[in-house]
């Protein structure tokens, strides 16, 4: 039986078993590959998406449990129309290998939506579930602070 999912403003009918995690629905069924597989056990944050604006690890949400509208990195902004947080990522040249950055950006976007002026401690608390093996953390922190101040000016 097909399940209806609203992703990035568009409704998709998904014909997969109920227990398939949202991550694998997005990647292998819908073709939204910006959301990454890193660990499968909510230990790295690479698969972070938003459900009704809240950041979640999509590897831990079964298809049948998706409770609201899903936003992925592709829905946050595009190369031609980036969200402010993505612009900050570009300005600070954050990415190295880049594999974890979709998850980092989605987590940071959720943080800023909730807390427009995060302190370093707030950033530590919100971002420590997101692993980066390249060690881009200092630039991630700078980009979040920068995006926060630009969003507050706007």
């Amino acid at each position: 039986m097909a399940t209806a999912l609203k992703i990035n403003g568009k409704t998709h009918q998904v014909d997969l078993p109920d227990d398939v995690p949202l991550l694998w629905v997005l990647r292998d069924e819908v073709g939204l590959t910006g959301t990454k597989f890193g660990c499968g056990v909510a230990a790295c944050g690479a698969c972070t998406v938003h459900i009704d604006g809240e950041s979640v690890r999509s590897c831990q949400v079964a298809l049948s449990d998706v409770w609201g509208e899903v936003t992925t990195i592709e829905g946050l902004g595009t190369p031609d129309a980036m969200a402010m947080i993505q612009q900050a990522w570009v300005e600070h040249q954050v990415a190295q290998c880049g594999y974890c950055q979709s998850g980092q950006i989605m987590q940071a976007a959720a943080l800023l939506a909730e807390n427009p002026s995060p302190t370093d401690q707030d950033i530590d608390d919100a971002m420590q579930g997101n692993l980066c093996r390249c060690g881009t953390y200092p630039r991630i922190r700078a980009a979040i602070h920068d995006a926060a101040s630009k969003l507050n000016e706007a």
Partner: protein
């Protein structure tokens, strides 16, 4: 139109070739150009591999793997600098697997000199020996060699292309080439008319490339500046394509399980449950493992885990303690190498104080963020393979052999790498994906490792032990006699890649051990190889990753035994031996406000290592916060000779340090019952946002030769942290990881 024959007959440093509607340029070191990778059509001339200009515009090829180190951007900038194009106005491609892209610098690194003491003659010899890379088809991204390899060749490719385009314009306009200028992809005529390169490309293809001169660095527009990365938009918007993201038409998804007793046999399996699971299309017997092809990766993982497999035993001692016993036994044999033997370490200088210490470090996993994967399409007589990789030509040879095809029938498509760190120089993921795809000809199959499969089937940084004996007198080190024992990733890899036994003195085993720039009169450093079958490989900075810890921890112990400040102690020994190394120590001393004294609750440690041509000094500060120790600050100084992109150098220095600190704090792969005991990130974690230090980097440029940047930040981090913990607590860490010995913030 230049013909293939014409190109083959000549000894080119730079060659050009006509293509349909355009021209291509490439560089060659040796008298016979390698076969051309871009497959000219019948009746067309061969292409050269680095610059291609046609009606669509300018395309540059950066045949080194972009795994985060920024190589694609800097490699393209080398060409663009001379060609006068802007990076955002051109296309940059990884380039196909091709012998013409061999890495000349990687082979040059194999010379038995210390590196920093290299003479011009040896430097030139190294360059000349670089041609050895070609017969071996070493299109490898590793050893922090990309810029050494590309620095001359790529600028020359750009300059030659520029001058050829100018000649084409000069011929068209009837003026002298010297009257023309170039800017932003156009040739500018004396009257200011601009001729786009694309319009001149076809004519340029019919011209012998004129001699071109490289510009003086004072004229550089791009090199030496921090440029926007060419991959940054894709990587900030989820649109960059990694191996795991390729989606050829009709793609199916697979997952694999190999023997967790690494290298052991598979006695049999029962897939009856897996066969009935949702989405499952096929069970594949790989001989030494099993795979499941399904409609979805997660369904494939569930099914492959449901297969009941009878695994054979591991071909090595089954637990960590027994493995370390075997490594220690290597010290009883003759050394594999003694690459430094100055003075006489068997005579204790009169009045000197002797020190003896033994060190040990564990196996380490690479743990790239993107789990191992590859996608293959086998048609029966051709094979297409997509993956992020560090060695496309080696992969091409291997999978051609796997599939029983000619090398030319295999096309390797290199995507971005979700982390490499040495892991993606291996061939296993490509070979397994090929075997899986061969079970379903005509259908592209993406084979993805679960994180657990990835973590437990790595080619690990080997465990290593060191026995150090030293002596100090009058505040100075007067004797160092060091022995390191570990498995040899190099010898194992030679056997793995070629099937031939690896042998001879292994420089990689002792790099960072024998070649440290300290003036110590009696100095002998030996390497001992432990012959174990645990799969080991190249982990960011390789031998330096353990030897840096051994050498620089012992250096600290000697400084304390000599009653000296550890930074001043090093400075005194480094200054007469290699000024850039002393310069790095001076820099971190100044940056950190080093006084040799720290208040209660604060500890500072220093370390300096020389690796891949680059000396790097680091000072690390730890603070005790109510019993929990936090890595608070770090200062890094490196001397890369020439910082082609200072922003990239800074990012690599910080990233390399964090990679090393993660291993130092919590990295450990252990064995029980022949199997790796770590499964996923909760068992093998790394530093995160809350526990990385605030870091300051200074990039120096006094080094005579261009040094690497991707790896040299890693080796000094581990001893600098251990030395800081000693300063804080008085307890000396002689083994890693540190979280088993100290209450570190994790």
């Amino acid at each position: 139109m230049a013909s293939i024959g014409k190109i083959l007959r000549r000894t080119f440093l730079i060659g050009s070739a006509a293509i349909v509607g355009g021209v291509a340029f490439g560089a060659y070191y040796v008298t016979r150009p390698a076969a051309n990778p871009l497959k000219p059509g019948k009746g067309e001339t061969a292409l050269s591999p680095f610059v291609l200009i046609d009606q669509q515009g300018v395309t540059l090829f950066a045949p080194r793997a972009e795994m985060g180190q920024g190589v694609m951007t800097t490699w393209a900038a080398l060409i663009a600098e001379e060609l006068d194009v802007e990076l955002d106005a051109i296309r940059i491609l990884h380039g196909p697997a091709a012998a013409a892209y061999y890495n000349s610098a990687l082979v040059g690194e194999g010379l038995p000199n210390k590196g920093y003491d290299i003479s011009n003659f040896q430097h030139n010899l190294g360059e000349a020996l670089g041609v050895l890379g070609k017969p071996l088809s070493l299109q490898v991204t590793g050893g922090s060699t990309s810029m050494k390899d590309g620095f001359e060749r790529m600028r020359m490719a750009g300059a030659t292309a520029r001058e050829t385009l100018k000649q084409a314009a000069a011929d068209r306009l009837g003026v002298d080439r010297a009257q023309l200028k170039t800017e932003n992809g156009t040739v500018i005529a004396p009257d200011g008319t601009r001729l786009p390169y694309a319009d001149l490309a076809e004519a340029a293809g019919r011209i012998e490339p004129p001699e071109a001169e490289l510009r003086d660095p004072s004229q550089w527009r791009l090199l030496g500046r921090s440029l926007p990365r060419v991959d940054i938009l894709g990587k900030s918007t989820g649109t960059a394509e990694f191996g795991i993201d390729v989606r050829p038409e009709g793609l199916k998804f697979a997952s694999v399980r190999m023997n967790p007793k690494l290298g052991g046999q598979m006695n049999g399996f029962d897939a009856s449950t897996a066969e009935t699971m949702p989405g499952v299309e096929k069970i594949v017997d790989l001989g030494t493992g099993v795979a499941v092809i399904a409609s979805n990766t997660w369904l494939a993982i569930q099914a492959v885990e449901a297969i009941d497999v009878d695994w054979g035993d591991a071909p090595y001692p089954p637990d960590t303690a027994a493995l370390f016993d075997r490594i220690a036994k290597a010290f009883d044999d003759a050394p594999n190498s003694t690459m430094r033997d100055d003075g006489d370490v068997d005579v204790m200088p009169e009045g000197a104080t002797e020190l003896i210490a033994e060190y040990a470090v564990p196996y380490l996993a690479h743990a790239t963020m993107e789990p191992m994967n590859a996608t293959a399409l086998y048609s029966g007589n051709t094979l297409d393979l997509w993956c992020g990789n560090q060695a496309p030509t080696l992969i091409q040879l291997r999978v051609a052999n796997t599939a029983g095809l000619e090398t030319e029938a295999v096309e390797v498509h290199t995507t971005y790498l979700g982390g490499g760190f040495g892991r993606r120089g291996e061939l296993d993921f490509s070979e397994i994906a090929t075997k899986v795809a061969m079970a379903m000809p005509g259908t592209p199959i993406q084979t993805t490792w679960s994180r657990e499969e990835d973590m437990r089937h790595d080619f690990y940084r080997p465990s290593a032990m060191a026995r150090m004996r030293g002596a100090v007198k009058d505040g100075k080190a007067v004797l160092i006699d060091g022995k390191v024992a570990s498995q040899s990733p190099t010898q194992q890899a030679v056997t793995r890649y070629t099937g031939l036994p690896g042998g001879g003195p292994d420089k990689v085993l002792v790099e960072g051990f024998f070649n440290q720039p300290y003036a110590v009169p009696n100095y002998r450093m030996s390497g001992y190889i432990s012959d174990l079958a645990v799969p080991v490989g190249f982990w960011r900075s390789v031998g330096n990753s353990h030897n840096g810890f051994f050498h620089e921890t012992f250096m600290d112990e000697m400084a304390h035994a000599a009653g000296r400040d550890p930074l001043e102690f090093r400075l005194e020994l480094a200054r007469p031996e290699f000024a850039p190394a002393a310069g790095c120590l001076d820099a971190v001393k100044e940056m950190s406000g080093w006084t040799g004294k720290t208040p209660d609750g604060v500890g500072r440690g220093v370390a300096m290592t020389y690796s891949f041509g680059t000396p790097v000094a680091q000072v690390i500060e730890v603070v005790d916060q109510d019993g929990t120790i936090r890595i608070n600050k770090a200062w890094i100084a490196c001397d890369v000779g020439l910082a082609l992109d200072p922003g990239t150098v800074e990012a690599q220095m910080i990233g390399g340090m964090i990679y090393g600190l993660s291993a130092a704090v919590m990295g450990e792969i252990t064995f029980a019952d022949g199997e790796v005991e770590q499964y996923n990130f909760p068992d093998y974690d790394a530093l995160r946002m809350h526990n990385v230090p605030v870091t300051e980097v200074r990039v120096l440029e006094t080094n005579k030769y261009l040094g690497g940047v991707g790896e040299p930040g890693t080796p000094p981090s581990m001893p600098a942290l251990g030395n800081a913990l000693f300063d804080l607590t008085g307890t000396r860490a002689r083994s890693l990881p540190l979280n088993t010995q100290f209450d570190l913030l994790v």
